[in-house]
């Protein structure tokens, strides 16, 4: 029968109308229209239950609440967690108040960020880099000291750089989702809050590597890939294998003939579609282990998508910093102690690491 179909809600975002199912958030409705009107999201991660609402990057103005009650909402709302109403009118890129608030969020997220993109493995596929590039101001007004943290060791696979963390809580939600024995979490509070295990413990679980993929910045990175390369020199290829633990569907990142990194596959919003296991991610780096499917469709946020950071589109100061990032050699021999990054001993890259499942 025709009428069992759920009634669709009409929503207008920046003047473009779209029909979505009840319960859809403003952000998802906007994504349905397309990247031009989709608000940025630093903490929200569609596959993770409970995520969103924290970073305030996705604030939008609701100019009309619904057809029934067309009053505007008094404050900007977090689009990632606000459900649409029928007849809602949303202003995202068309509202100066929204753009100003977003500029503020970029600034807040960057004041304590080390800006160490030159030595950060995430550079080139960093949500914060993209967010700052798209929405930030060119220069900083912050003259105070930046925050630092004591080091935490999360085990043989995952490297934590707390100074880069934006406290999105995504990795915590991931751990909650993949295990009922979460060992890491958010400690302390306010701007002293940090990701950690409190008493040094390795995050060891078959799926722990996924926290690397969900991290929007370079706070959690792959120890088996650290400083090996810059993402823009690599070539991603979709592949799969018969894995007893996970779907085995991955993206292989090639440098020449060598697989130097394995990640889960991402959709166009840079979100992992299926979690993969640690064996696939960290221990299976021979082409012969995989069935190659073909070149990966490049995520929108990736630096290797066409001319992501074209020089003529760059705003000066941030562009300069970024350029500095790109001209770094692959083997980074700079003294990174200033940045609180420790060089890994070579044996950490050895393939005979104890398996996380033991």
């Amino acid at each position: 029968m025709e009428d069992v179909k759920p009634q669709l809600f009409k929503v207008t975002v920046d003047g473009i109308e779209v029909e979505v199912e009840p319960g859809t958030t403003i952000l998802q409705a906007a994504r349905k229209i397309g990247p031009e009107v989709a608000p940025p999201a630093m903490c929200y991660y569609q596959p993770l239950k409970g995520s969103g609402g924290k970073c305030r990057a996705c604030l939008v103005r609701v100019a009309a609440g619904s057809a029934k009650d067309p009053r505007p909402m008094p404050k900007l709302v977090a689009s990632c967690i606000t459900p649409v109403q029928d007849g809602m009118v949303v202003e995202n890129t068309t509202n100066p108040q929204v753009l100003d608030a977003r500029k503020g969020v970029v600034e807040f997220l960057l004041i304590n960020h080390p800006l160490d993109c030159p030595v950060c493995d995430q550079a080139g596929e960093c949500d914060l880099q993209n967010f700052a590039f798209d929405h930030g101001a060119a220069n900083t007004r912050y003259e105070e000291e930046r925050r630092t943290f004591d080091k935490h060791d999360l085990g043989p696979y995952v490297q934590l750089h707390m100074t880069r963390c934006i406290l999105c809580y995504r990795c915590v939600f991931t751990a909650d989702q993949i295990t009922n024995k979460r060992v890491h979490g958010v400690l302390n509070r306010g701007d002293a809050a940090e990701i950690g295990t409190y008493i040094e413990k390795a995050i060891d679980n078959d799926f722990s590597g996924n926290v690397i993929d969900v991290c929007p910045v370079g706070a959690l990175t792959d120890k088996t890939y650290r400083f090996k390369n810059r993402v823009w020199f690599t070539k991603p290829v979709d592949a799969h294998r018969d894995c007893p633990t996970c779907s085995g569907k991955v993206t292989l990142w090639y440098r020449g003939e060598e697989v130097i990194r394995v990640t889960a596959r991402r959709n166009e919003w840079n979100e992992v579609t299926e979690f993969i296991c640690n064996t696939c991610r960290f221990e299976t780096k021979n082409t012969s282990d995989w069935v190659i499917e073909g070149p990966t469709k490049i995520a929108r946020g990736s630096v290797i998508s066409a001319n992501k950071y074209r020089a003529d589109l760059q705003k000066p100061a941030f562009g300069q910093r970024l350029a500095a990032a790109q001209y770094k050699t692959v083997d980074d021999t700079r003294d990174t102690s200033q940045l609180g990054i420790q060089q890994l001993p070579p044996e950490r890259f050895n393939k005979s690491l104890p398996s996380a499942t033991e």
Partner: protein, 166 residues
């Protein structure tokens, strides 16, 4: 490989009774609500909240240790490092400062020879700066365990320190 080890810190029998009574206050399946009261109980017994004690509390409530660490580090009352016998929690907020709180605080630090976060060498006193203790009309104020010391002056501070040192 995991080995079951007996926790090195446990509640004394009467505190364990108390803990059970507290856990029973909450609806079925909501025993995690007992976390803050049990952390207070732990701190009362140990003087601070050591990791082994937090693991023990996690066991009592059948939650993961990280859930306890997350909570204990969020709230300022829990000492996550060892402290002296008497922890002086000194209010540093505006209304107390108007009443001369900063001068009295300077005297206190001088008298004990330590700064905030430090413990005297004899292990007697630790100073901790805290925010408003909801006693602004009686400022300056500090708290030692459950007791509020109000309307402080340099002389009062000396008396109290002498008293506590006994």
């Amino acid at each position: 490989m995991t080995t079951e080890t007996k926790p090195t810190i446990q509640f004394t029998p009467d505190r364990l009774e108390k803990a059970k009574e507290i856990i029973a206050r909450y609806p079925e399946g909501r025993q995690k609500s007992a976390l803050l009261p049990l952390l207070h109980l732990l701190q009362e017994q140990e003087g601070w909240t050591p990791a082994e004690g937090m693991d023990y509390v996690a066991g009592l409530l059948q939650i993961e240790p990280i859930e306890v660490y997350e909570v204990a580090t969020f709230y300022t009352m829990f000492h996550i490092n060892p402290v002296g016998k008497h922890v002086i929690e000194y209010c540093r907020t505006g209304p107390c400062c108007l009443m001369g709180g900063e001068e009295v605080y300077a005297h206190l630090r001088q008298r004990l020879g330590i700064e905030a976060g430090q413990t005297t060498v004899d292990g007697q006193f630790t100073i901790k700066e805290v925010e408003c203790l909801a006693a602004c009309g009686m400022g300056p104020v500090f708290q030692v365990r459950e007791k509020y010391y109000t309307n402080l002056t340099n002389e009062r501070v000396d008396e109290i320190i002498d008293e506590l040192s006994k």
